[in-house]
Symmetry: C2
Subunit: 489 residues, 2 copies
């Protein structure tokens, strides 16, 4: 049984020396894999990836640490899409700061978990500090507000909508759906109001929560693609008249495609008139709060009952670094649990308090550490500068698109995305734009985004790399045009 | 705006050189913080932690990368509970392998995300391979089964129960709760059957899913604390007779406290008789499948409709490394989504397939990479050896407890936990056991677990460190006894 051989763990006094050679191997794989890839992604499309991973993933006997790490890490890097490459701009797929990745290693090595104090004394404290700072950034009173770090916007939106569901039904009927289920008399009458540009995870959350996707009602947009407060007001009046219960208005601060920010202050006003919970999905746009220039776009967010922010978007963190905040800590009461082996009341009274009741998860890595290190290293101004750089890149890209006769800009960028397409002289523009994107993927030249607006296919640049230069953006556009001309031929 | 200064990213050709000095700082913090802590956790309890983190977490101006990382990482380590210390044994809080932590760095540096192919060409492939290997381990047909890596057992159980809810209602009524919500006529009639030792996340999931915690029905236990198949059968007959719909039987393979494994094969038989979905929560016990000696305890798991396994428990991964598996990939159909910017059908037809429909999350780090590296390095035998070592430790601890006149062993260990308590000559045993545990926490000597069984307070050792020796276990027990004598005085 080999009881004599010692296993190399990441923690303990031997941890640093166990990690050192393996980290050297990992860095080596990052370097060599990038050379092998030679661009933003590998050539050859999905078919080529399998060849990088030919061996059995779970053999009966292992091949040893160095060999396994070297081989698999290098294949992983060679087969990855690297957002640090200026031509990898399809998604809210942020190139993380080296600093944050290094800090994350420390969290991983100790495996702290936030479901009990005695698994994470320092992790518990750091998450509290990070949440407090973010509550302040949003404009909440940190003494009253609360929240948690999440796996991302989807979990944050799910949590916000769960709190809204509990709040609305407790107020309207004294019902507690987490305990008794969704009341039969409310079937088909519980409503979530959002716009058609809202992230799909909202409908998905409604599905998870037992409300069903059909509970989601689309509020018309104004000319700027923002949720129209007057239209929201009319809908709320109509819903109330027919006895429906609007459990939440879900506004977006930074839609995935256009970066549009709903008029939060006005929506907060309307939601308050009707006693509806306001959740703001600022997964993308929340980071704009770091920027003095852009923060005013989110004015009114402090009136939201709950907010989602992803710091693995405009925050340059490795995934996961989502955050959910609630204006009042008491909103989390329906999620509180007493668990005999985690948080008994006598242990809590003795000062051993956990953050179990703030999260839908149980085991939970302290992702707050990397966030705290980044905050302390860059400060609000440093992070604001990164946001401003990417915002300026988007404006440069838009200006270049406007100058080119065959490129059509959808509209001026709001945050750091730019939507455009190639207008062919002949041929189906939808097919050509979709195919040119796939061609760029297949030949390993660029990872450009793609979406659908007004029934047509559009391309998207999501600019999140603060180091990208204007000539690099212009070169990327030249590549897009060349690929388009190839397709249109 | 400083457009000239380059930001240090983890990816790209400069990534390795950007990371190298920061990782040296992180390792230094791991070493120095551990010396400062000088034991499994810091002395002084929660009050002492705040002093380690005196500075503002989000200043206006940053203090720079090195300074922030050095200060915060060291404070984090000094204030952590380190599961690599042989006296840190309260929870399923695994000391991670150095290898897995190093591999995780690579996933973080590139920020791959599994919600679209073009954010994770290699990550998508690796997750597929890991899931296939785990389906094989469980005894599923990998060609038919499917699954995803999750944030942990809670998300895995939530996902399994969501699949069960959709399956049961589609079969019974042709209803699709994700779309239309929970049917009004089924209010209070949808049932989840499990035992009282089931993890609390199951009740919580029922709450999230709109079924309510009241939907959870406890099945009586047999003398070995296992769910009684006959009792389950009777309950199912009764439920059917009164028109209730049992959407899932939830069996546990490795309860958190006792490590008890329900009789899976018999429960599968009963569930099948009544057409009820069987979900097996093997978050803890799933890793026993690596061990030739212990795997037979989970016999029958291959008949489950869905399974949860946490490789950040008996798998020595840093969090998160949860897994949810389903016997039939088609079970995930209700979770499938077409999203214009993620997975259009023409892109999928061209081979750019994502794993979006396998997970409740959207952005998702490729936690499969560290798992794959660990599997390849250790093989099934190597992992089985680690499981066997911890199992042997538990038996040694139990034997030592039996020999001591003032220690009471609750029962023989099944996996790697041991439940016991101190029997004082005088005084309230519950108060003394609870207080001695807190005293060990406060004076930084040990992190011992605590739970409640049969209305009494018990202590718990969760043995997950393969390097722990028998003398270390005996020394820990001596510390517990000394603390008890101090309290009982």
């Amino acid at each position: 049984m080999g009881l004599t051989s010692s296993i190399q763990l990441a923690g303990g006094s031997g941890g640093p020396e166990n990690l050192r050679p393996l980290l050297a191997t990992a860095l080596d794989a990052l370097g060599k894999g990038a050379i092998e890839r030679d661009g933003p992604l590998p050539t050859g499309g999905a078919g080529a990836i399998g060849a990088l991973f030919a061996e059995d993933v779970l053999p009966l006997d292992g091949s040893g640490a160095e060999s396994a790490l070297e081989g698999l890490a290098r294949a992983f890097v060679a087969g990855a899409a690297d957002p640090a490459d200026p031509t990898c701009v399809a998604h809210l797929h942020t190139p993380p700061l080296a600093l944050a990745v290094a800090a994350d290693l420390v969290a991983g090595a100790l495996n702290s978990s936030l479901d009990s104090w005695d698994q994470a004394p320092s992790g518990t404290h750091v998450e509290g500090q990070v949440i407090e700072a973010l509550c302040g950034l949003v404009g909440y009173d940190p003494a009253v507000a609360s929240g948690a770090v999440t796996s991302g916007g989807t979990e944050s939106n799910l949590t916000g909508l769960l709190l809204a569901r509990e709040h609305a039904l407790a107020n309207a009927l004294g019902a507690h759906p987490v305990v008794t289920g969704i009341p039969a008399e409310m079937h088909g009458r519980l409503r979530i109001l959002c716009s058609e540009t809202t992230h799909f995870s909202v409908a998905r959350s409604a599905g998870v929560l037992g409300l069903g996707e059909d509970s989601v009602i689309g509020v018309p947009l104004d000319r700027d693609h923002r949720m129209d407060p007057q239209a929201l007001r009319s809908l709320l009046v109509d819903l109330r008249a027919r006895g429906d219960l609007p459990i939440a208005v879900l506004a977006t601060a930074g839609t995935t495609d256009l970066g549009v920010i709903d008029p939060l202050a006005e929506l907060a006003e309307v939601a308050a008139e009707h006693g509806a919970w306001l959740h703001v999905d600022a997964a993308y746009g929340g980071g704009a709060l770091f920027s003095e220039r852009l923060a005013p776009l989110l004015s009114g967010i402090e009136r939201a009952d709950s907010v989602a922010i992803d710091l693995h978007k405009l925050g340059w963190q490795p995934v996961a670094a989502g955050v959910v905040l609630a204006q009042r800590a008491s909103a989390f009461d329906p999620m509180e649990r007493r668990v005999a082996y985690l948080n008994t009341s006598d242990d809590e009274a003795a000062g051993f308090q956990s953050r179990l009741g703030r999260s839908l998860r149980t085991t939970r890595r302290p992702d707050a550490l990397k966030i705290a290190v980044t905050f302390r290293a860059l400060g609000r101004r440093g992070l604001g500068d990164l946001v401003d750089r990417c915002h300026a890149q988007a404006h440069h890209a838009a200006a270049s698109m406007r100058e080119h006769p065959r490129l059509e800009l959808y509209r001026d960028p709001v945050l750091t995305t730019v939507i455009f397409r190639y207008r062919p002289e002949n041929g189906d523009p939808d097919a050509i734009n979709a195919e040119l994107r796939r061609a760029l993927l297949r030949n390993g030249r660029a990872v450009v985004g793609r979406t659908e607006l007004d029934g047509a296919v559009w391309l998207k640049l999501t600019l999140l790399n603060p180091n990208t230069t204007e000539p690099e953006i212009d070169a990327l556009l030249a590549d897009v045009i060349a690929a388009a001309e190839e397709e249109a031929r």
